[in-house]
Symmetry: C2
Subunit: 402 residues, 2 copies
């Protein structure tokens, strides 16, 4: 497997495009994107666990009942959630993409991101969609159009082999605030030309979500609009993957890599974030324990603020492990802070070590920090990803809607 | 029942005092406090649910096995948690108070608050405790000595009648960061001269904690050192409360009032807080549903940042209700923002209303805001208390330890 360019257009037969349709006031920022496959795709998706679900998710869920899709339309600037006309707008958005792309409305996936509670100005989309110029080199433009408070576009693509046939897979995503397990306000769209059945595609997606997107946290808020979609058009012409053979394993690993890279990009670009945090728990009895503990550390506002201040406050790591609701012996825990090959241990067997504060400050002043908690009580290890809590997070979220 | 002065010294036979013993570098800030009853008390306590428990809690728990106590020693500036000598230090702290007060070590409660992981300089306490001048007018001084990042001292007292006999109850507490249900870094000490059995005292305390201290949130972190203690010395000479009669109800209400006032003071003084938030959920099917939903709103970083920015972003209220894990119909929810007698409705039946943004801004610019979510699906109502998320929270916690 190797990393390649072109995001969602890396796989054969996929085109993308974007334009400014007018949902946003800022004309220099695109707000409408399309992803299109030249042939019908096997398709799977996962959605927010929030009880409040936006209309685009409801429409998409219906359209994916048969596991098939051909296009994705995404608007930013408005979540199309909690407003009187949301269902009508989401249906018109799908219809509008279908008309433009000359495909069936039922094969269109709809996604929206932005402010909740304001009617979507659907006519902007209907009147301007024809400005979009689709191309197999337009993934970057599409990936920029779907951003909200994100500061950088997020995409990745890989090449891998199934039984000697070269396949491609690529993805783009957005997400910055409202990021927490079970899908934060994030949208992720993944395309592949691998030939794989939709039930295996779905199984693969669901398992990988648990180990990738559900292991990031920016602020503990889970949004109404999140979804992760994967489309497979089979144009690589590999022998179809329909059983759990080695080919399936290869595909699953490729998908996990793409999803993990996208997830980390979201965590690193968390609203206001200055530092990317990897919270690793090792020596746990079970993988679930390790994940729960790592997420607890990764989600602690106090620890996140300490990382912002480059303060080796390992007591807050102990504290966050302690309230995670997992059974472990605090008196066996070792805690380390790490940047590349520099490591410092601050806590051994649950007690303070007399560590070098200067060295700790050096490590914590970097923009990528790993926080390692070794429970020494088993052999399971999980890393979760997050970011520091900064003045800018407060600033961005104190005045997002207006 | 009426509110009176003198905090923990309001009840007959209780003395308090404090001094600067040297744990803190700042000599103008006291760091050691005592609360003492002239006679032995019935006593009950609740502790942090954190798996990592500091030594003072372990010592206190042991000393309270018989439900009796006579004194409380509290130091600030050091949590006496996660260090090699914590158990020895906590025991010496109790012994030192016992020697000074001429009571049994087993009747001394020990509490500590401050940074985790550094050895407690116990000799500071042993060498300077004799500087404390106990008095029945020293509650204010004691309440100041137990503060850490708190900006104001927190105390309350009330007078109530049990069968025609006047009783008194008062409390002091501290807590600012690491505040979340199941006891955040908070210490609360309540004294009463009411004559009540320790088993009823404990029952009363446990039930009231659920409805008071467990309904506040500052940052979602639960600390290693929290405890809430109530001591009853019986010096009001009322007929003993030993059964669940009307007298018990009166006592329980007084305790709930004291605990709720202390809890609200903690929420209002949340680290960096500029605004006190009351998050009310009404029309819920069960009290537990209402509490879970209200706490979810109260804990949302996004909503807290919006309140800081005086932004009527009710979509974040919907969103926080939605991910609370409670079953309700989002399409029946009404949302209001309120300050005193000014109210504005922003959402009706789960959909946006076209509300007056100017009026909303006026309400949200106040320093006490109520956020009301009416589910219209039952008759249960719960309020939880919290504060906004500000630049100062980040500042305080980015550089607390150093």
């Amino acid at each position: 497997m190797k990393v390649i360019d072109q995001g969602v257009c890396a796989a054969k037969g996929f085109l993308a495009g974007a334009c400014h349709c007018g949902i946003r006031k800022n004309q220099s920022k695109d707000d409408l994107a399309l992803i299109y496959s030249q042939s019908l795709c096997q398709c799977a998706a996962v959605y927010t666990s929030n009880k409040v679900k936006a209309a685009p998710l409801k429409v998409t869920k219906k359209h994916l009942e048969n596991g098939m899709a051909q296009a994705i339309i995404v608007n930013s600037g408005n979540a199309n959630a909690c407003n009187e006309t949301e269902m009508e707008s989401a249906n018109r958005e799908a219809q509008c993409a279908a008309d433009f792309l000359k495909c069936e409305k039922e094969n269109v996936i709809v996604a929206s991101t932005g402010v909740i509670g304001q009617p979507l100005p659907i006519s902007c989309i209907e009147e301007n969609i024809q400005q979009i110029k689709l191309g197999n080199d337009q993934s970057f433009k599409a990936s920029q159009a779907i951003l909200t408070t994100d500061t950088i576009e997020k995409s990745i693509a890989v090449e891998f082999e199934i039984n000697g046939v070269v396949c491609h897979m690529g993805g783009i995503c957005k997400g910055s605030g409202m990021i927490h397990p079970n899908m934060g306000t994030m949208l992720a769209f993944i395309t592949t030309d691998c030939n794989i059945s939709s039930n295996l595609l779905e199984e693969c997606l669901k398992e990988n979500v648990k180990k990738t997107f559900n292991r990031i946290s920016v602020d503990g808020d889970t949004s109404t609009n999140d979804m992760c979609v994967v489309m497979a058009n089979g144009m690589a012409l590999n022998a179809p993957v329909t059983k759990k053979t080695d080919s399936f394993t290869v595909f699953k690993q490729a998908l996990r890599f793409v999803m993990e890279e996208l997830a980390k990009k979201i965590a690193a670009d968390g609203e206001g974030a200055g530092k990317f945090l990897t919270c690793t728990v090792k020596g746990a009895k079970t993988e679930q324990d390790a994940q729960t503990l790592a997420m607890s550390v990764c989600s602690s506002s106090l620890l996140k603020a300490a990382m912002f201040g480059s303060d080796a406050n390992w007591g807050r790591v102990m504290c966050a492990l302690g309230y995670a609701g997992v059974d472990f012996d605090p008196e066996m825990v070792d805690i380390y802070f790490k940047y590349k090959d520099q490591v410092i241990q601050c806590c051994k067997d649950g007690k303070a070590l007399d560590f070098d504060e200067e060295k700790a400050k050096d490590i914590l002043s970097q923009n990528e920090i790993e926080i390692i908690s070794d429970l020494k009580q088993g052999d399971q290890q999980v890393s979760c990803w997050g970011c520091d809590l900064t003045y800018d997070y407060v600033k961005i979220n104190g005045d997002y809607r207006t």
